[in-house]
Structures are given as structure tokens and as C-alpha cells.
Amino acid sequence: MVVQVYGKPQAVCPQRVMHCLVELGLPFELVHVDIDAMEHKLPEFLEKQPFGQVPYITDGDFELFAGDQWIDPPHRSARVYCRLHAESRAIVRYLAGKYGGRGGGAPELLGRTVEERAKVEQWMDVEAINYNPWAFPVVFNLLVLPLRGAPGDREAAAAAVEEMKRVLEVYEKQLSKSKYLAGDEFTLADLTHIPATRYVVEFCGAARIFEGKERVKAWWEDITGRPAWKKVISFVESGKSSYSP
């Protein structure tokens, strides 16, 4: 039975989930949920995802929800309420735990020992708590709001870029000790950074967050050069609903 991912393929959280599925060599179906049409506010959807956010996945009879930015439609007042949700990290932990370690070239995305796993968890928390809160306002103000015809707060975005530069100084030090954030292998700790950072550097003109950080740059080239990530981007750009490895 094929995993179903409910969400919008351009959004960060579904991309994390899709990337993990592709890394694990798993097929999936993408069921579009249109944030703009506020489809996810329908009562049936709310029953499944009580916080009213998209997307969720079904894996056989089992459902997990992941979050996405949800944003009041632009016809409301200028104060836009938005929240970033990150249960995509719960989904990728579930997928990596259930389907990882089967050999056949699929990576060990959660580390191999208790100690390695702890480092993966630590850097996943760093992404969620120290990194993403700054990546989000950059993307939200410079990309998402303008796409919806609303003015973004350019000062907030600029301030957030400065914070990203500051946080990445810590990453630069860490990456002088290990090839990837949690050790010498690519793990979920690296994966969860990719979708939002891609928007920051490629769509928001903020590639300067990498300036002077040779190891972060090398790490970024490496993780975005992974075949699985390239397949996710091709899939998103194709507009297809079904992915097979």
C-alpha cells in the first residue's frame, strides 16, 4: 500500500517528507490540498488534523499529520496571522525509523547507535528551534506574501537574514569537525534544513548567508546535490501526483 502525502508540493514541510521518502526508496502519492482554497478548514479535514493545518500522510491504515504555513487569505486585514508547523519532522522520524536500515543503499537517516541518534536529534532540534524561526520570516516576507499580492516586511526579512548568518557561524564550526551536522553521514538533521534554505538562497536573494563560510557552502552543495533531492525538485516541477523510485 503506497504512502499518501497530503499537501502542496511547493511547501517546505511536504518537501521534507517527500525527500525522506525518496531517500528511503519509497513510492508515494501526492494528494493536493489547496491552502488558498482553504480546503483544509473543511470539517472532515479538521477531524483528521485538529490544528487545521496541512498536510498529513497515510501509510496503510495509519495517518500522521504534518504542518505547513497557513496564512489568512489576502482579502483579510493587513495583519496576517501565520504559523509554521513542523510535524513534518515527526513524519520523517517515523518514516526513517520504520523503513530505514533495510540495506540496499538506503541511508541510515537516524544514526546507527544511541549516541549517533542523540546527535541527530540534537541537530534536528537546532534546525527547528534555532534556525527555522529565522528562515521562515525571510521566505514569508520576501516570497510568500508578495506571491499573494501583499507587501512583505523587508526589514523583518533583513533582520532575519542577519540572524541566519549568526547561527550559521556555529554551523561553520561544527562542520569543521564532521562532514555533516550530526556526524560523518547524511542524516535527517541535514535533510530537514534543505527545503526552507533553498527558498532563502534561490528565491529570496539571500545567498549571502553563506558568505565567508566555506564549510557551510560545501555542505550545502553536497546535500542539495544528492540524487534524491534532485528527484524531489523534478517531481515538484513536473506537477505529477505519483512518484515511483
Binding site: P50, F62, L64, Y94, G97, V114, R117, Q122, V170
Partner: protein
Amino acid sequence: MGGIKIYGMPTSTNTIRALAALNEKGLDYELVIVDLRTGAHKHPNFLALNPFGQIPVLEDGDVVLFESRAINRYIATKYAEAGPDLLLSGGTPAERAAVEIWLEVESQQFGPPIASLVFEALIKPMLVKATADEAIVEAQAAKLEKVLDVYEARLAQNKYLAGEHFTLVDLNHIPYTNYLLKTSKAALVTSRPHLLAWWKDVSARPAWVKTAAGIPF
């Protein structure tokens, strides 16, 4: 070698989160004071442990970890055999996935508003002697209300947040909830019967009673 060390301070909610997990597991540890008021967290010796300059940090033999939630996962995994099965290692994939979801919900939905509210309403006045900004308290309380409505519905169907068993999910919520109940916004919990019943249950656990005894507030 030596035993487990936690670097932090006894009033810090995130430090308390890690101590609560150690106490549930019945583990001995040493609390090494890193007092934020003295700037100890910016000292190079401490930055060598956590380059983000935040408490707590755990040292367990050669393992050095920061981020209290990652620390708690490590404690729950490494010492799975001691005390309660906090990550349901003996459970089904569905049960473990419920733990994963609600661990994230604590981190991403519950955590941010309650941390801001508690800081403004309790920590700032007590430790920094500044007056609480009521506008911030009200705004964060409004966000937290929506989240706690979901929790109330969840706890009407489940004894604990991840299901039928006490897990790391419940534990991770305890320190901030404890502080919330000391603020003017305690009614956020006390007005919700299932949430209140859950609180009474989890806060009566001997390990939490022991942890709470160490909090100077």
C-alpha cells in the same frame, strides 16, 4: 569518567525538563550551575560544550548534548530499561508515531506561546526585576488558548497526550505548565477539566514531586 552531569540552573525550565527525565529514570546526576545572570553561558568553556550558549547541556561519559528535548530523547533511549518506557520502545509503530507527533506538537505549537508567556509573566519579573508587558501576556495567552482547546479534546479521548501511557510527551510539557500555573493565566489550565485532570495526574508522579522540590520558585 564520572556520572551524568547537567549544566544549567534550577529555575531554568529547559534545565528542569532534563532533570525531570533523569528523575523519572531514577538516575543520579550532578547539577553544575551555569547562571545566566552572570553571563556564564557566554564563557568560552561553556561555548565549547554548547556553541549556541544555551542551557542545559548533558555530559554522560563521552557524550555531550544540548537541546533539552534531544537530551530527553537520549535519556529515554539509552536508559530505556530503567523506569517507565518513555518513548514506547515496546509499542507498535502506530503508538510510537503518536509519540513522535505530540513531541513535535509540544515543541512547535505549545512551546513557543507558553515560553513567551511564562518568560513575560514570571521569569522577567522574578529574575530581572522588570514589569511584565501585559500586551505580550495577553497575546501569547490567546495563542495558547487555541492550542489548549485541541489538548482538551485530545485528553477527553486519551488518558495521556500520546495515548494510554505516560510518555516523554507528557513529561516534556510539565515544566512550563508548572510555571504557567504560577502566573495570572493559570485558568488556561484550571478551566479545562480534562487538561486539569491530566495535570493533577502527571504532577503527582513521585519523580516530578522530587524535581519540583528543587525549584526555588
